[in-house]
Amino acid sequence: MARKRMSAVLVTAASLAVVLLLWKPWMPRLKVGAVRINPRVAINENKDYHITVWDYELLLPWSKPSYEEALKERVEAFHREHPNIIIHVIQRPWNEDDGPLRDAVEQGEAPDVVNMPNGIGLLSPEFQVPLQHYLSPDQADDLLPAARRAATLRHLWAFPSHIHPARWIIRVQDPAVELPVARTWDQWSEALADNRTKSGGSGLAVNVLDPDFFRHLMISATGHSLLGDDGTVQWTEADIEKVAKEVLTWVEKGLIPADVEKAARSRLAHFWDGKALAVAPTNPWLLHHILRRAGMLDSPAGGSASGDASKPLKSVERSVYWTPPPQIGEKLWIAADIYGYAVFRQAKYKGDDHTRAAAVVAAYLSREMGSWVATRTFSVPAHQSSLERWLAESLLPEADMRLLLQWCENAVPPPIDDRLARLEARIMTETVVPKLVAVLKGEMSASHFAREIHNVPVSAWLRR
């Protein structure tokens, strides 16, 4: 009897062992749509993996080598290290919208790796592969916390490459004492009014028609983008009204021209004529234009993208600095766009080892191209291990870049859910901007504007 019981126990234990060995519950399993993926599976060194990468051309007229050449160089370097992982880059035009990508994803024919054109987003839980298990602890620690946060919604949906924080440009009267620090709303107002008194112009050369202008201010005030990850409006009516009223005050004081449409088209003229103290908002291309025209990128002391070590510019040479939008909330929250590389599976699943190979490619490109792009677009690379090289190759003095790095700690990106990010962009363009213009023209009250924006029917917009 005892022997029988013993053998029953042994058989059960053996069966359990077999089940456990087959099931491997200690191994993480990723459920991606209908497929369960084992992210720990090894790459077969004796097998060739063909990984398709969609990469969006980055038009940087000032950069030599071009983006395409830099990418090619890095892909070749990758091949030397991983001869059995063959990368096929499909270069998409820089101005292509994300329609073709979303179509490909929806049809289960997405490329293996995508350099997300509009910033990191979750396009499809059905086909987009969570990536946290493809990072070693060291690799995970290497990511800047802000970059990692921006790419995470329960899972890590992309390997971040670089962070582009919002900046305004300001001319300084006395570079020796005026550092490119963050300023409060009151400090901004004072500086703009002072410039208006001296120059007779309006203090701020602003493009109110750019949705980023109001978005930057609202994020500065609240620390949130318009829509949360659950699709709710995160800006309170009181916050919206407060910021709109502040902007209106600037118009009333003549610190922003009343004809906002005309002003949006003559910002640079006013800035270079000395009539405006600051330009808002900016993006990497406008930043490059302004910094170069100010002589900061042509100066030998300004460093170069080719790898010369940068030295601080002499203070007398400096006339232009970048600075975050006004600090309105208790903390310096700063709107940011965060870019990266996502991995997709296809409807016809190619296997866990193929997915792993794709993840290796995505991780590599995010690190290598992220650093390259960050250097040339005044952005911050997402990897701590890239910072030293980024600082050395930067086009501007190290102090400026370190400030940028500091500002990125509180970076606030758009929602990671692609549907919500697109919806937010539409609401900003189609509703917020025209209504803000109406407020500034005196055709709508700030409180009415705040009510309308806060109560925007998100679910109805989503159904459109």
Partner: protein, 306 residues
Amino acid sequence: MTGHDRLCRLTFIVLLMLCCRSMHAWTPTCGLEPGPLMPGPQANAAEVSELQERLQALGYFSGVADGIFDQALELAVRRFQRDQGLIADGIVSDATWLALAGDSVPAIRSSTAKPEGTMHLVIDTRNLKLTLFVDGQPFKSYPIAVGRQKDWYWTPVGEWKIVNKGVNWGSGFGTRWMGLNVPWGTYGIHGTNKPYSIGTRASAGCIRMFNHDVEELYSWLPLGTKVIIVGDTPPINFGRTISLGSSGKDVVAVQSRLQELGFPVGGADGRWGPNSEAAARSLQKLYGLPADGTVYTDIYYILGLK
């Protein structure tokens, strides 16, 4: 030539001349047949300057080449005509121009078999050279004369097309004329009765060639052939808003810069059309500016034109 052809040609010339006459009010053009050059204030200044320079070179005139057909110049012309056995009336007609040309046409003429392939011309106004490209490769170069680079006499830099062709349009144009679709005037590639001017900046903006050279090109180039003119441009005042339908030298400059920066406009033809609008819109989106496809103040700054 049939009666119908003759009528068509006559109508075309009359329309062209009417057109030129109306345009002449605001900008002189090269493609006008000046006719005999008569003494007096009405004489075409560009033609008079050329006459003065030629007579200077031949030792008949010692005054300043100021474009004014005054008494001193008239006397010089009469002296020259007398020496050449012409009627010494001081009026510079075809016979006088021919005599002025003397033996300035090169004796050796190199004629080439017609090339096969897609042809386009590149005219370099700095080096005074016209090059025929066939399938993108340089095929043959020719010496030319171009505009004077002062006042209104600049050769129009841009990307044009040959839009009309003609034979013996008047001695001023030599034996052949190929008109370009420059929107602000009448310009073309033509022969000349002043062959000594080839290799100089002497014209009122047109591209002059030796007659035998232009005859060769004329026989090869179809209507619609692309003509790219590169070189210096007159100072341009960039300020107005350029929108659909705008044309001019400023448009050419904006289109050229857009192309250089990687925004294709389909040719810097001086006309702001849908392709130019799309290119401007792309630039505007990239730089975070209002994207309406027009060229406003800030675009001039971005393009480095202001």
